[in-house]
């Protein structure tokens, strides 16, 4: 059933995403063309200005694209489970957790597609369509800087740091999505102004999460207090690295715990306190 739900969730928005992805690819071709023209007409100010403007817009378009995924996923969840379409979705013989999970997985599928599109766009603009296969060169440069030239870290430390950063990046959209689901579920508990209350809940949950993580971070940064209170002090690499890795790993665990909590919370509310009025 989960697969079927995902199929319909993908079908619902594929045209919208198709347009956005096609627009991004066209934009990157335009930017590549302008780049070539700027190189041919070196002194031409018009092409230079156009190039800079388009480059800025291109970067903004990426932010808009990734933000759009969250917005579309939120609208889909709201319309499909909380508004009129919920009258159908909540009467099909499917467990509530699958209804939520299908939307969650669909969001990740579109996010992954957006990352692929972003990679292709970057390849077009940079004139290196196969840049992904040349990452080892970039990694070597990064590694040499990290190990020898400036920081004096080990290759293992760099790999670990990179891995942790990737996990944080993968978890972030999922965390935001489940935070939104939980807010909408809490709004559903009220009889009037459900959407307004859901927005308030979103901010209330955010403040709660920040306060809680702030408290944890205070305990964890005890080693760093001497450095943080003395502006003149230079943080030794090992201490800084340890602090950063601990913070990131804590952040991952904290995010996963909250994600599980939000998922279970939303599921419980929609299955036990469903309130489609």
């Amino acid at each position: 059933m989960l697969r079927k739900l995902i199929k319909y969730d993908l079908l619902a928005d594929y045209k919208r995403y198709g347009i956005v992805f096609a627009a991004m690819l066209l934009f990157s071709i335009l930017l590549m063309t302008l780049d070539r023209l700027t190189q041919v007409f070196k002194g031409n100010q018009f092409f230079k200005i156009m190039m800079i403007t388009c480059a800025i817009l291109f970067m903004m378009a990426f932010i808009v694209m990734f933000t759009m995924i969250m917005v579309i996923a939120t609208i889909r969840f709201y319309k499909n489970l909380v508004r009129d379409e919920g009258y159908l979705m909540h009467t099909i013989p499917v467990p509530t957790w699958q209804l939520i999970m299908a939307k969650f997985i669909t969001m990740y599928i579109w996010s992954a597609a957006a990352v692929v599109v972003a990679g292709i766009c970057f390849g077009i603009v940079s004139g290196e369509p196969l840049w992904l296969f040349k990452l080892d060169i970039g990694w070597e440069i990064l590694e040499s800087a990290f190990v020898e030239d400036t920081i004096n870290g080990t290759p293992e430390q760099l790999r670990n740091f990179f891995l942790v950063c990737v996990v944080v990046m993968i978890l972030s959209p999922g965390f935001m999505m489940l935070h939104i689901y939980m807010s909408l579920a809490l709004g559903n508990l009220f009889h009037t102004h459900k959407l307004g209350i859901a927005v308030l809940m979103f901010f209330a949950l955010y403040v709660g999460e920040q306060l809680l993580s702030g408290v944890f971070m205070l305990f964890m940064s005890a080693d760093m207090v001497t450095y943080l209170t003395d502006i003149e002090a230079v943080v030794p690499f090992e201490a800084g690295y340890k602090y950063m890795m601990t913070s990131l790993i804590f952040s991952i665990i904290y995010t996963i715990v909250l994600m599980v909590g939000f998922f279970i919370g939303s599921e419980r509310i929609f299955s036990k306190k469903l309130n489609l009025e």
């Binding site: 319909y8 319309k79 009129d84 909540h90 013989p93 499917v94 306190k273 469903l274 309130n275």
Partner: protein
């Protein structure tokens, strides 16, 4: 017994929508759920369909608590359009086929063809009335045990009402029951076996149409006007 409600209550804050409802519904019946606006008809139907959770009491359908198992045997038509606008008729038929084991694709396409609704038609290009007909066809194309129809003939022209009533009669089986919530009693009276009247969330009457005629010497419509006179 197909449906059993024991001391069923549903409250919204301090408002009592359903107050101590005790109800038994057998198989093979067409039941009119009647009452003025705000009497609790829709709330009762939503509780039976699983869209609202009861505040207290017991509700069972085919001896099962409301949940996934009852959703498999309940076919629910809400008072509003619940189909996604982006879908085509074929996609909604596929959707029902994918999620309901008792859905008959042939029955649905047969009825759609008679109304000249094509599988490729998009829901967003349809009128409200046509969308309602598509919904009714989908709901009645299931071999469900309980059909819950919330105001199926409200807001449609008399010709469409006749079509809807014919569709209901033509598609339910003897093993199933149909609960129809409506204000338009005279239009459905001729097909009803039983009548349930609700007022301020309380059950005021549950009788067969024959009992009403014998005991009160009136039609259901006339009795409704008497019971709910303002």
């Amino acid at each position: 017994m197909l449906v059993e409600c024991k001391n069923l209550c549903k409250t919204y804050g301090e408002t009592i929508a359903l107050n101590n409802i005790n109800l038994n519904i057998e198989r093979g019946r067409i039941i009119g759920l009647l009452g003025p606006n705000g009497s609790g008809k829709t709330t009762l139907i939503k509780v039976l369909s699983g869209l609202l959770t009861k505040s207290s009491g017991e509700v069972t359908i085919s001896d099962k608590e409301i949940g996934i198992e009852t959703k498999k045997v309940v076919s629910y038509l809400p008072e509003r359009t619940y189909l996604s606008e982006w879908m085509t008729v074929k996609q909604v038929v596929d959707f029902f086929k994918d999620f309901y084991d008792d859905f008959s694709e042939e029955t649905a396409y047969g009825m759609l063809e008679r109304l000249n609704i094509k599988p490729g038609d998009r829901l967003k290009t349809m009128s409200k009335g046509t969308k309602e007909k598509v919904q009714l066809i989908l709901v009645m194309s299931r071999q469900a045990e309980l059909f819950l129809l919330d105001e199926p003939i409200a807001g449609v022209d008399p010709a469409a009402r006749d079509y809807i009533i014919k569709t209901i009669i033509g598609n339910y089986n003897e093993n199933a029951s149909v609960i129809i919530s409506t204000h338009l009693i005279s239009d459905v009276e001729k097909i009803l076996d039983e009548v349930i009247m609700i007022k301020y969330g309380c059950l005021v009457m549950h009788k067969t149409v024959d009992e009403i005629r014998d005991e009160h010497g009136k039609s259901v419509d006339a009795l409704f006007r008497e019971v709910f006179a303002c």
